[in-house]
């Protein structure tokens, strides 16, 4: 019996050595170690052995079983590795083929610029206000100290709907609406982005519709140095730390003193970016604020102008053509 066991081991080892397939290995396992396998068959003859022989043969049989089991396990692992290797080889792809694209969309550059500016001023404690684009002459002009025959009306040619209703030529009427809404309370810190309209022929530098952002601060003892400081803080956030600004005297009927603000560009020199000034006492008064107690500053900037400078765009019409070759350049904004 001992010889039969040893023969079985030898035969099994030889058979396993020749196996190259997981299925065949499984069959071999059943053949030698299964319930009806050869080892079991041999051990059934244990009954014929003497008391002395039985433990030794039993030990040997167990040894052979353990040996064969571990051998099968090793072989199994070896064959699995081989199979995986083959699979990996078969599954090879050309990683340089183009990806299956999900085209990203884009924000309109004007809207992206507005969001950026809003965030800068929100960080400085400003609210974002809104006002009507179809506006009363009263708010667009009269309350801003621009009477019917004021020569400043020439500065802005207006789309009228009726003698009293027009398309706002500036976001400044929102100053008046904000003051009225606040009913004499301070502090006021607001900006208002929005569309405005003027009778200009559309060309590279003019557009009958464009966007402005208005700003208004009213409180006790607001000074021009605060206007200067606020605008400098804004410009540094928008155009980079260390960007210089310059104030120049200018004229708007609803601010006094009035200023134009330029920023310095190393290639192009001084560039005008916005108009501002101390709120005219008559504007405060008409909206119910006593100009002796309260002062304020206001500013207004053209969004297109800022975007033109920021992205080096040369034609304002690009913003309104919505050419995808243009819009796609702002995918990363």
């Amino acid at each position: 019996m001992r010889d039969r066991l040893l023969n079985l081991r030898e035969e099994a080892v030889a058979a396993m050595g020749a196996v190259s397939d997981l299925e065949d290995l499984k069959k071999l396992k059943v053949k030698y170690l299964g319930k009806k396998g050869e080892l079991t068959t041999i051990l059934r003859g244990m009954g014929t052995l003497s008391e002395e022989e039985r433990p030794a043969i039993g030990r040997l049989a167990n040894e052979i079983r353990t040996y064969l089991e571990s051998m099968i396990a090793n072989k199994e692992e070896e064959l699995q590795d081989l199979a995986l290797e083959q699979r990996l080889k078969d599954e090879k792809i050309d990683v340089t083929l183009p990806g299956i694209r999900r085209t990203p969309g884009s924000l309109h550059p004007l809207m992206a610029v507005i969001e950026q500016i809003e965030d800068i001023f929100i960080g400085m404690g400003f609210e974002v206000a809104e006002g009507p684009e179809v506006e009363l002459d009263l708010y667009n002009f009269e309350m801003l100290n621009i009477g019917k025959d004021h020569p400043a009306r020439d500065m802005q040619d207006t789309f009228y709907i009726s003698s009293e209703i027009l398309l706002r030529t500036q976001t400044s009427p929102v100053q008046v609406r904000t003051l009225q809404k606040k009913e004499g309370k301070v502090p006021i810190r607001m900006i208002c982005p929005g569309k405005v309209y003027r009778r200009d022929d559309d060309d590279a530098t003019h557009s009958h519709q464009f966007m402005q952002i208005e700003g208004l601060v009213v409180d006790r003892r607001v000074s021009m140095s605060e206007l200067n400081g606020t605008l400098l803080a804004f410009v540094e956030k928008m155009f980079g730390e260390g960007t210089e600004i310059r104030l120049r005297p200018s004229y708007f009927p609803f601010t006094e003193p009035s200023v134009e603000v330029d920023i310095f560009d190393s290639d192009k020199g001084w560039l005008e970016i916005l108009g501002a000034g101390m709120v005219h006492p008559r504007v405060l008064e008409k909206a119910g604020y006593n100009p002796e107690r309260y002062t304020g500053f206001a500013f207004g900037m053209g969004v297109e102008r800022i975007a033109l400078l920021k992205y080096d765009i040369d034609d304002i019409r690009q913003f309104y053509n919505n050419d995808l070759r243009f819009l796609h350049q702002f995918q990363s904004v």
Binding site: H108, D154, D201
Partner: protein, 807 residues
């Protein structure tokens, strides 16, 4: 305003100050300088010559051979082709070696066998713009005055070395619409002395020329002065005067007109010369026009007037539109010998309204409508009379007649030193403030912290304390104002809920691959009618005087603009488009607007074309259709937390009748999605195009304010498939709704995973396969429990939709 440097130098000491210095300082202190230019556009080596003789060219019909004396050496032989050349003329001669604008070099030439030693120049060849030339000067060679000094450099003679500073004036600084005004400003900036022209008049008048001024419209004309000058000899003005006018951008015409223009530019006071002999009885009546009255103006046009027009008349006829333009009946002509010279103050508003209504903007109306300096009305008149005497041989033929209503009052404004410092945020010594007012030539007294400032009449823009603060600030220097941040109570800044939601939508759609566009609010009336607005009762609002048909009405839908944008992009070769825009529509029910419209924020989207065409990975190529558009909306609603959205078949103008749905949330229509009507697709050359438009305030009503977490259930789900055959007509949405209602709360989700039609099903039938997921929060569902529900669902579908179960 064009400011000649040479002219300005006469009125203010500019020693050591260049035109560039002036420009820089004007810019710094509040007057924008557009540009500085010299009137010389590249002329060198051109002198004044006299034509001695002219003879025909032997080999040409139009060329002539001239002998020209140029002040030195022998006369030059020059071949000239101009038809107006003739002996004894004085003309500009470009000598050999001269250069002319446009990089032209003059060399010795042989023209059809005749040698030519230079060129006789036309005005154009010297670079003079047509704008400042008279008609006869634009044809042929430029013929100069008979006493032009032979041999002199033409640039000296024509004042071409002068530099011109172009000012871009804001409407408040009308004081700088005159050379004297600019002189005051420059003198203040540089703290330099002024030397204004002095007027001397030889009084030689007699009693023969009476003038009777009657101011019927007192408010519109509170001040009128006139004087008569006789024995005038009309002719061309001396070259120096012409040169100054040209520098100022004004075309010389004749000595009388030139003098009135010259004095207007010098003093800012417009003057008008009437032919005195055409005025009946020397009467000058200033009044508003009567109904139906008309006047033929100097340009030969008949102008209808209304009662808001101010006229100068005599008893019989209209002489002029006050402050705007003279009338033809009293025009100064070649035959005129006696003129009545007018210098007046007209109400700025009425001049402005008249000039705008008639579309007549002149140098004069521009000054009147900003308000002329009352203190300069008579000095300007006298200055013109002086020049008429000196230049046009005139004799004073009357006293200065003056009619005035009321007195000119001194304007004195108090300025508090403390207010000045607080408003500007600076510390400044009162002595420095006083010095600034002295430089401006404003009289000032300082006492108890208050400056009493007397503002001269030439500065009508200064009325209140803040105006004085600006004057101080601009001469103090805006660059000296410190930078501080607002010191008051601090507030947290923020966006409103609607502003935040609009941002979320913008970013969500961008992330879904859509491109944001911004289009015009004004569209054509026709395009506006092509497609339905979300508000069917909206009346489009018309602009009173549109600039073009393309931009005539305010939009009531964002879709027409998106369609235009799509067309634009397809014309430029793009094939797949995915666009959106958020903006306002302008909604009113009024046919004629008397109240402000409702401005409603809306979202619109457009997709069309083929994604990923001709791509190596074939599975991704897709023609975009209705369901792509709907998928975008569904993803957006999910992002906003808006569930329970339904889609109901709809028929709307501009949309495909079988492929359009209203978007409904809680029984309220919040928008629309559909395919563009094929007729419009053809018109705009678009492929299948899907549009959607959403009313944002309505949508936002359904956006939950807060999210409450629901515990994730630990009990397993049971999935059952359900395949049925129904009539083609039956809508999947209705079946899903029925399943949900019948199954009740244990049905967690329902997904359509298969849809097909085929012969084996029978005609007009379709097969639908749903996957139903059941789950309870508190227990594991048993097969029996689910079986009961599932049977109920099947039974309901069988009775309601005549559905047949497929196995």
């Amino acid at each position: 305003m064009l400011v000649s440097y040479e002219w300005l130098k006469e009125y203010v000491d500019l020693e050591g100050i260049s035109p560039e210095d002036i420009a820089e300082e004007l810019n710094r202190t509040g007057i924008e300088v557009e540009v500085i230019y010299t009137r010389d556009s590249g002329v060198k080596g051109v002198v004044i010559g006299q034509i001695l003789s002219v003879r025909p060219h032997p080999d040409s019909n139009h060329l002539q051979i001239c002998s020209v004396h140029v002040g030195q050496g022998n006369p030059l032989q020059i071949v000239c082709g101009a038809p107006n050349v003739s002996p004894s003329q004085r003309v500009p001669v470009a000598l050999i070696g001269a250069s002319l604008p446009g990089d032209i070099q003059i060399k010795k030439a042989t023209i059809r066998g005749v040698e030519s030693f230079g060129m006789i120049c036309s005005a154009k060849e010297l670079g003079l713009p047509d704008k400042v030339l008279m008609k006869y000067q634009t044809d042929g060679i430029l013929v100069l005055d008979h006493d032009a000094p032979i041999g002199e450099d033409i640039k000296t003679y024509l004042g071409m070395n002068d530099q011109v500073i172009e000012l871009e004036l804001t409407p408040n600084r009308s004081d700088c619409l005159s050379m004297i005004g600019v002189a005051y400003e420059v003198a203040a900036i540089f703290d330099r002395p002024l030397r204004l022209p002095e007027v001397e008049i030889q009084e030689t008048f007699d009693e023969g020329t009476p003038v009777d001024i009657i101011l019927e419209a007192e408010e519109e004309c509170p001040f009128y002065a006139a004087q008569v000058v006789r024995n005038l000899k009309i002719g061309t003005s001396p070259q120096w005067l012409q040169n100054r006018l040209i520098s100022a951008g004004v075309r010389p015409i004749n000595n009388i007109v030139d003098i009135t223009n010259y004095v207007m530019i010098e003093t800012g006071q417009p003057l008008h010369a009437f032919d005195y002999d055409q005025i009946h009885d020397g009467e000058v009546i200033v009044r508003r026009a009567r109904p139906g009255e008309a006047v033929v103006t100097l340009d030969g046009v008949t102008r209808a007037c209304d009662d808001d027009t101010l006229l100068i008349t005599d008893r019989k006829q209209v002489l002029a539109l006050a402050g705007v333009m003279g009338g033809q009946s009293s025009e100064v002509t070649e035959q005129t010998t006696t003129i009545l010279l007018e210098s007046a103050f007209f109400d700025p508003a009425i001049v402005r309204r008249t000039s705008r209504r008639l579309g007549l903007r002149s140098e004069a109306s521009n000054r009147f409508e900003k308000g002329v300096d009352p203190e300069r009305i008579i000095p300007a008149l006298s200055r013109a009379v002086q020049l008429l005497q000196e230049i046009a041989g005139g004799e004073v033929a009357s006293e200065i007649y003056v009619e005035e209503i009321g007195d000119i009052e001194d304007v004195v404004i108090g300025l508090r030193h403390e207010r000045l410092c607080n408003l500007l945020g600076i510390q400044i010594d009162p002595q420095e403030v006083i010095h600034i007012f002295r430089r401006l030539r404003f009289e000032v007294d300082y006492e108890d912290g208050i400056y009493q400032v007397q503002v001269p009449t030439r500065r009508p823009d200064i009325n209140i304390e803040e105006d004085l603060i600006e004057e101080v600030a601009r001469l103090y220097g805006y660059d000296r104002i410190p930078t501080t941040l607002p010191w008051g109570q601090q507030l947290p800044g923020s966006l409103t809920r609607e502003q935040k939601l609009r941002r979320i939508i913008r970013h969500a759609l961008r992330d879904l691959g859509m491109n944001e566009s911004v289009t015009y609010s004004l569209i054509s009336s026709k395009a506006g009618k092509e497609i339905a607005s979300l508000d069917p009762s909206a009346e489009p609002i018309r602009i009173a005087m549109p600039m073009s048909r393309e931009h005539a009405v305010l939009r009531t839908s964002l879709l027409p603009s998106l369609i235009q944008t799509a067309k634009y992009n397809l014309n430029h070769g793009l094939n797949a488009l995915s666009l959106f825009e958020m903006g306002r529509t302008y909604l009113t029910k009024e046919r004629k607007l008397t109240n402000l419209p409702r401005e409603n924020w809306q979202l619109a989207g457009l997709i069309t074309g083929n994604q990923n065409t001709d791509f190596w990975y074939q599975d991704t190529s897709q023609a975009l259709n209705f369901f792509h558009g709907k998928g975008i909306l569904e993803a957006l609603f999910q992002r906003l937390g808006v569930n329970q959205v339904e889609y109901r078949e709809a028929s709307l103008i501009g949309f495909h009748p079988g492929r359009t749905a209203e978007v409904i949330c809680d029984h309220q229509v919040i928008g629309v999605i559909g395919q563009l009507h094929p007729k419009l697709e053809r018109k705009y050359q678009l492929e299948e195009t899907i549009l959607f438009e959403i009313d944002l305030p309505k949508l936002f009503q359904h956006v939950p304010e807060e999210i409450t977490y629901k515990a994730i259930t630990r009990y397993p789900a049971v999935t059952r498939d359900l395949a049925i055959v129904v009539d083609e007509e039956v809508q999947v949405g209705k079946i899903e709704k029925a399943i949900r209602q019948t199954a009740g709360p244990l049905l967690e989700s329902i997904t359509l995973f298969d849809l097909f039609q085929g012969e084996q099903l029978g005609e007009k039938k379709k097969s639908l396969a749903f996957s139903l997921v059941y789950r309870a929060d508190d227990r594991t569902l048993t097969d029996d429990e689910i079986q009961v529900i599932h049977e109920k669902v099947i039974q309901f579908l069988e009775t309601t939709f005549h559905a047949k179960l497929r196995h």
